[in-house]
């Protein structure tokens, strides 16, 4: 591993130097990026010399940072902007070390390039899993610092003085006798130097930008209608296309009568694929009308016999079994035997759709000599690979132009819609923009799996768990996404948090029981395994506290004595909500705590009961310790949005299946929290100098259990299945 890293590092260096000579007269600074996982399709192809790296440095792209003659800094963002504010965060990291203003930075989307832009935490080029800040933190600051050092050195050589006597500020280098040169005038000389080996990053106490609530760079055009998302793009000669795939996953087209569809004004072509029929037209409405006018006979296939009840039953059965052991610490059987009591509960979570507000959309132009894709994607490398596979072109002939994303939540880690767009575009001679209707989008999502967790604790005389057995049953996203499970047979995502709970336990045994629903494909959401495990554990611990007749907060603290950061967060929450003072009659408070995505989060929900089943959310407070904060505004926004996103799902959302078909087609049936129902989210950030943690999914992870724990505290009703409305509750 070490050797390989060194080798790749050398290769990366060479390319860097080559990049400088060919760059467009500017300074190009890359930073070393580690290799990617052999499981990544793109990476594997690259490693075996089967695929190109896409845009190469020799074409004029620096890995991360390029300083132009005009002094402007091009930042090639390895992370897609989908509302999380990451591109501003990365720009802050670069600007801080490069000593330029945020307004000097122009952000460009990174092209597919597995070697350069692989995220070491995800092990492929992607935006997701709350890794963006955690991962870019080091290499992006280093890229900025490297460029600064080269520029300072160039200035020093112009002035024939020592670099140590010069310093950089606001895009200029200042010399010992008050001389100054702007970066733009130094880039040619700086570009002739080799990369320094001794890059020193700033100490946090010297930051002047990082940690400040800097204004997002992408928002000004998002308030005046000028921001362009994929769905807004227009190309010369482009037609719109929309598609209908077989309503049952795995089904096929038997035959199509398109006479009526062809008569719809504006309709150009009907494209019939094995499992999909598409209409192209001069406008979106004509596409939708054309699709409606099609008379399609489907061969629904085997899945058409499956209803939600079947999936349910399979999971109920599965959770009673043992599975593949993901971890075993101590002797759980002995613990259970010796325990003064045992407690067991099963927690269930439904299929969920991602349904970002921008429906799936992708612009494609397939030509004999190449293919261009304009698409907002979390996985540009996979987009390139799939287009190459469909068209038979070489990956380097496929150009991916990443776009701002109108919401992702994991949806754009999948590239099914990109594949479909390229399949359609391959059948016509003009560029097309695929736009799905909301109905197509919701019924042809890939779904967060339905899960069951069975927790069995051995409880000591004081009511504390000495150990527990945690069984997890459901489909494996990892296997679907990567192609197979690891040799262990354990889905590493599904068991996250479960295999390393924050609580101190003498014994622990975690089973993964793979039970594929078959009827729909399963996929990522705004956090998956972390959320599922956290939900089960936090509901369960709350029940244990309740059974022991103890306060749920102090009960948790007893089990968390070895986690000082978590205790600090809990104490902060307790003081913010005056936990020790009594709750008014008819109200109840629920709590959940977790160490998720590298951050610590504590969430508290206070409810009041309106009649027997009416729920009013009186207060929602969350405390986050996400280590060193790049932009506190973005952290708060992510905690607010993530928490309410999770609340919406915990209250309302569930995908049902009947005859193999997803029943929820639009937002009337898959309803979302509205402003009138959304409580204010109070976010408190724990000041911290620890390494940065993720926040995109952190809030989402804690709200579900906090809500159900609050329902118990308020109504004396232990609900163990999401969503809450399933148990007859409503928002009052």
């Amino acid at each position: 591993m070490k050797d390989q890293q060194v080798k790749l590092e050398m290769a990366s260096r060479r390319r860097f130097l080559k990049g400088i000579s060919a760059a467009l007269g500017g300074l190009v600074v890359g930073a070393w990026l580690p290799p990617m996982a052999p499981k990544s399709a793109a990476a594997e192809a690259v490693a075996q010399g089967k695929a190109s790296l896409g845009d190469s440095l020799a074409d004029g792209f620096g890995a991360f940072v390029r300083v132009g003659h005009d002094g402007r800094v091009a930042l090639i963002s390895p992370k897609a902007e989908m509302g999380q504010g990451i591109q501003t965060g990365i720009a802050m990291m670069v600007a801080e070390e490069l000593e330029v203003g945020l307004d000097q930075i122009d952000i460009q989307e990174a092209p597919p390039n597995a070697e350069l832009y692989t995220d070491a935490l995800l092990q492929f080029q992607a935006t997701g899993g709350s890794t963006s800040t955690r991962y870019t933190w080091e290499p992006l600051r280093r890229a900025g610092a490297t460029a600064r050092m080269l520029l300072v050195r160039a200035a020093a050589s112009v002035w024939e003085t020592d670099s140590n006597l010069c310093h950089a500020r606001d895009g200029k280098v200042f010399g010992p006798t008050g001389q100054k040169i702007s970066y733009g005038d130094l880039v040619d000389l700086a570009a002739t130097y080799a990369l320094p080996d001794d890059v020193i990053l700033k100490r946090p106490e010297d930051f002047h930008l990082i940690g400040t609530p800097a204004t997002r760079l992408d928002t000004p055009t998002k308030v005046n209608g000028q921001a362009k998302f994929t769905i807004d793009l227009d190309m010369p000669g482009m037609l719109i296309t929309s598609a209908r795939a077989c309503p049952v996953y795995g089904g096929k087209v038997r035959q199509v009568d398109d006479k009526a569809a062809r008569r719809v004004p504006g309709v150009r072509d009907i494209v019939i694929l094995e499992d999909v029929v598409a209409v192209t037209a001069t406008n979106t409405w004509a596409c939708f009308q054309g699709l409606k006018a099609l008379n399609i006979e489907w061969d629904y296939g085997a899945n058409s016999k499956i209803d939600s009840a079947v999936v349910d039953q399979k999971l109920q059965d599965a959770i009673q079994r043992d599975g593949v052991v993901a971890t075993e610490k101590g002797a759980i059987d002995a613990s259970l035997q010796a325990a003064s009591s045992k407690f067991e509960a099963v927690y269930e979570q439904p299929f969920l759709s991602r349904s970002p507000l921008e429906p799936m959309s992708c612009v494609v132009h397939v030509r004999d000599d190449g293919c261009d894709l304009w698409v907002g994607t979390q996985v540009p490398g996979f987009a390139q690979q799939t287009a190459a596979a469909v068209t038979g072109l070489k990956p380097e002939q496929v150009k991916v132009h990443n776009q701002w994303i109108g919401g992702a939540f994991g949806r754009r880690l999948d590239f099914d819609f990109i594949t479909q767009a390229v399949r359609i575009a391959s059948k016509v001679s003009y560029p097309v923009k695929l736009t799905w209707s909301r109905e197509e989008d919701m019924t042809h999502d890939l779904y967060r799996p339905q899960y069951a967790d069975r927790m069995t604790a051995a409880v000591n005389g004081e009511g504390f768990p000495v150990g527990w057995q945690h069984r997890i049953a459901g489909g494996s996203i990892f296997a679907r996404y990567v192609g197979s499970l690891p040799a262990s047979g354990v889905d590493p995502d599904a068991v996250e948090v479960a295999v390393d709970p924050i609580y101190k336990l003498d014994s622990l045994k975690v089973h993964f029981i793979r039970e594929e629903p078959e009827v729909v494909p399963v996929s990522w959401w705004r956090g998956v395994g972390v959320l599922r495990s956290t939900f089960a554990i936090e509901c369960f611990v709350d029940e244990l506290a309740h059974n022991a007749g103890k306060d749920p907060l102090s009960y948790r603290k007893t089990l968390l004595a070895h986690k000082p950061r978590v205790l600090t967060a809990l104490d902060l929450l307790a003081s913010k909500v005056a936990w020790d003072s009594p709750v008014p009659r008819g109200r109840g408070r629920g709590l959940a705590v977790g160490e998720v995505f590298g951050s610590i989060v504590v969430t508290m929900v206070e409810l009041s009961a309106i009649g027997e089943k009416g729920v009013r959310i009186e207060r929602l407070v969350t405390v986050v310790d996400c280590g060193l904060v790049t932009n506190p505004t973005s952290v708060k926004a992510q905690m607010e949005g993530g928490t309410l996103f999770g609340l919406s799902a915990a209250l309302f959302n569930e995908i049902d299946i009947k005859g193999g078909q997803v029943q929820q087609e639009n937002f009337h049936a898959y309803r979302q929290l509205r402003i009138s129902e959304a409580p204010p989210v109070e976010v408190h950030i724990v000041p911290s100098a620890e390494a940065p943690g993720g926040v995109g999914e952190a809030g989402t992870a804690l709200i579900g259990p906090a809500l159900l724990n609050a329902v118990n505290a308020t109504f004396g009703d232990r609900v163990r299945r999401l969503p809450l409305v399933r148990s007859g509750y409503f928002i009052a």
Binding site: K222, S634, F667, S676
Partner: protein, 156 residues
């Protein structure tokens, strides 16, 4: 041919009369600030103003709006109140992905144009038709409250 008045400009469009205004705006007039989210008046992403009132353009056949004054997000920046709203949206860092925000701003602006007294309940009524999948609701409320205060119509 239908005659449409959008953002103060008259357009002749050759489209079927039942085509929803949304698609005329987006695909024919190429004003893409108005968004498509659901097509069934559930999300509010397509909100525009018709004679100053907020409407869901995805369910409005274009023939029914001929002769009326249509305003889209692209047509508001000249108006001082609209600029205040946009400013407040930036000051409060409302937008996340931003996809819903054209619609949010059009609904908020209609509320502020229309009401002489605004409180939380009025915000609920005016804004409940606009979904935000990124759930930026806390900030939307703060931004509207901020503008209401600055123009003297906030009455809790």
């Amino acid at each position: 041919m239908l005659t449409l008045n959008v953002n103060g400009t008259t357009h002749q469009v050759d489209v079927p009369g039942d085509m929803p205004l949304l698609w005329v705006i987006r695909d024919i007039l190429k004003l893409t600030g108005t968004k498509f989210g659901c097509g069934i008046a559930q999300c509010g992403a397509c909100t525009v103003h018709m004679d100053g009132k907020p409407v869901r353009s995805c369910v409005l056949p274009v023939q029914s709006v001929a002769g009326q004054e249509i305003t889209t997000i692209e047509g508001i920046s000249e108006k001082p109140l609209a600029r205040k709203v946009q400013r407040a949206w930036l000051d409060h860092e409302v937008a996340q992905c931003g996809y819903c925000q054209s619609g949010q701003i059009m609904s908020a602006l209609a509320l502020l144009n229309d009401q002489t007294s605004i409180n939380d309940h009025a915000i609920d009524l005016a804004m409940a038709g606009n979904l935000c999948r990124c759930a930026t609701y806390t900030r939307i409320r703060e931004a509207i409250k901020d503008v209401s205060e600055s123009v003297g119509v906030w009455q809790p």
